[in-house]
Amino acid sequence: MATLAAPAIYTPAEKRESTLYSWLATTDHKRIALLYLFTAMAFFLWGGGEAELLRWQLRAPNQHFLSAEMYNQIFTMHGTTMIFLAIMPLSAAFFNLLVPLQIGARDVAFPRLNAFSYWVYLLGGLLITVPILFNSAPDAGWFGYAPLTTAAYSPGIHIDFWVIGLQILGISSLATGFNFVTTIINLRAPGMNLMRMPLFTWAAFCTQFLIILAFPVITVALVFLLFDRFFGTNFYTIAQGADPLLWQHLFWIFGHPEVYILVLPAFGLVSEVLPAFSRKPLFGYPVMVYSLILIAFLGFGVWAHHMFAVGMGPIADSVFGITTMLIAIPTGVKIFNWIFTLWGGSIRFTTAAMFAIGLVAMFTIGGISGIMHSSPPADLQQTDSYFVVAHFHYVLFGGSLMGLFAGIYYYYPKFTGRMLNETLGKWHFWLNFIGSNLAFFPMHFSGLNGMPRRIYTYDAGQGWDIFNAMSTTGAIIVGAASLIFAYNMVMSRRRGAIAGNDPWGGPTLEWSIPSPPPVYNYAHIPLVTSRYPMWDLKSPRLTAEVPHSARADQAVRVQVGGRDEGEIRLGAQPESIDDKIVSQAAERVATAEELGIAIPYSTSKPFFAALGIAVMFSGLLVSRLGSAVLEFGLIFGGAALLVGSLYWWLTSPLEPEVAHH
């Protein structure tokens, strides 16, 4: 115990790999996590800047700071950016960092596919955001309703960017989905059975299933739209007998699971942060797992509640109203369990804990207005008003983003080896909390007073002025908070306090290894005997009532593939978790070569495969220029680059052969 309790401080290496090529070719899940984290933060600031422009326009009646056309582009890109380029990739940053660490693995199942996902995301993200600088951004809303988005009603290149950009981003999400489903099923350390997985990994697991089952549906909807726009098919041509609701159904069969894709990872992070800072095991762990599964499952059966206003008839309205209300049950269970986790704990109000508690409060408000929408007659009054805008900002800002911020404050040390500044963190939290409530709460009232969403300006005297002025003030405060946060993230990467292995006294496996972890994560794959292995070692009193397969001081016999590997002792000795790291940590961390661990090669092949996809799709975009040579050159050149890189990638070995000792 004493050996382990001694802080094994690992100073981040002076000579960290930092060349551009090393980032381009990295296959290390922790470095890819950093790429996701900082790229998504950049897109978050970009999308936030767009929100500030929208709010500046609406600060008072009859403003013409933005033209109607520009306003359409900006609100479309604000939604698209925040959903696909900020929140989902921020979640992906945590999948990348945490899933392998929490399950005791050395990397994800397919490290090169993981790099591929990131590069596809970056290139697709640039393709969809850059056009706004040339006044040609998508302008039909983030859910791009067809037939409005067909060539007849949206001529020009605006929607082309949206269709093609989302198609590319879908490839990235699907690749991530296959990778992490496999990783969580197959790379769990011995003893890490499903009911011992940390809640974040459970949330990631459910999210990946949502991704691999929901994204194909929007892929098909987008293919139809793409074919309609480029090849003259009739999927959304009403004059040919097409169903005007086809897009809405396909989109929302994807779109509602997408809501849970956005929020479940944040739920998972909060379920990590609250036990750590109340020094209590999560209340009702099994029920938290079942409620995640139930939310994910029910999430596929509620899509038409986005469509009550189109007149589907009383039976469909009732069915979807009831399934929607059902989702409130598992969600409510989660809220209560978080509160009961805090109840009676010795709570430390760190920034991470404050953001997590902030999520519990603000998501509850968004959840309650969500239940109001589940009633079709009430929804008819609220549809397309600012009330809906208030609802989904409480869910996505107060829910997803607050949870992700909590996760960033809690896990930044594990990402980088350094702490975020807590004073700036407190400023960030309070400005963010006050600003977001000031921005979004008045929208309930402007909405109930009849203000439609997406109008670019409005007349005075309709009872909206004061609420809009409040919302704009709140938005400016949130903007200031976000800049403080961005400053904190950039500065702390170089100047933050050295974190050590376990700055918070966390309960899960990832805190047993240095921060940032060595490239191989675990010198020895750990053997897991309970949900909170680190508390078993450091404060067994906390986990006395948690189920264990063996007590921490017992010897356990291990068999691998029928071969007896002898006895190992779990907790009592420092050998239990990563003896080599702990014993060497005072000076330095052993390299992979010294330990005989095979590390995947760095390779740029995934980047070139991703580039091939981007080039191939941009061939379609230039078809508007009328140059067949350029168009087919790009399409076939991109396809050749993709196929060539794939062959090159699949025929080269992942990692060097290392003799097994």
Binding site: A109, N186, F215, T233, F235, Q240, V556, V560, G561
Partner: protein, 223 residues
């Protein structure tokens, strides 16, 4: 004393929780995802069935009111039944190819054992039958265009060509995959160590076959 039993490891790639190779789990996840892709395409076809305002139609005669031209029902069920049979037989050849790769090291004595154990033969036959199916599809598509049905003509044309075209693209990818395996087999021989690679290709191939059974039934057979 408690005993922790850890399943046998994936050859050369260390420990896995299930004892199964990760790529096998990933291909099943991929197939699950593909099910949703084809479910969306097939549902759209079925939703749009009978909603086309102008012909040609799949199962009904249509007389163009403008020109008076009479269009026959356009689907040629006997021809497609043959191509369906060809594709189903390719799954049999795929099974034989995988068995041949897995059992490469078992000595073969009779002529029959040597034929059944020839992985190159069966990989080639699978790819050939897949290509035959694609040729039938190419013939079908061109004859439809000659008869006046393109992807732009009506809802039936749009949804039919997109659905079967997506399936055809999947078969094409499968044929390329099989030919790659065949190339490796000629270059250095595929043995039990490569069985996983062939197994994954086979799972994909069977999946594409099964999807065709659904398409053939729902699009061609049911009127």
């Amino acid at each position: 004393m408690a005993t922790v039993i850890i399943p046998a490891s994936d050859a050369g790639h260390g420990y896995t929780t299930t004892g199964l190779p990760s790529r096998k789990i990933a291909i099943w996840a991929f197939i699950g995802s593909e099910c949703m892709l084809f479910a969306s395409l097939i549902s759209t076809y079925l939703i749009y069935k009978g909603r086309s305002l102008t012909g040609p139609f799949p199962h009904e005669v249509w007389k163009d009111p403008a020109t008076g031209h009479v269009f026959k029902p356009i689907l040629n069920i006997p021809v497609t039944s043959v191509s369906t049979f060809v594709l189903l037989m390719s799954s049999l050849a795929m099974v034989l190819a995988l068995a041949a790769v897995e059992n490469r090291d078992i000595p073969k004595h009779t002529f029959g054992e040597r034929v059944l154990g020839n992985s190159r033969l069966w990989l080639f036959v699978t790819a050939l039958l897949g290509s035959t199916f694609l040729s039938f599809q190419a013939y079908e598509f061109t004859s439809f265009v000659h008869e006046g049905l393109t992807i732009r003509t009506n809802l039936f044309g749009s949804s039919f060509f997109t659905l079967t075209g997506f399936h055809g693209a999947h078969v094409t990818a499968g044929v390329l995959w099989l030919l790659t395996l065949l190339g490796i087999d000629f270059k250095r021989g595929l043995g039990p160590a490569d069985a996983l690679n062939v197994d994954i290709a086979a799972l994909y191939w069977h999946f594409v076959d099964v999807v065709w059974i659904a398409i053939f039934t729902l699009v061609y057979l049911i009127k």
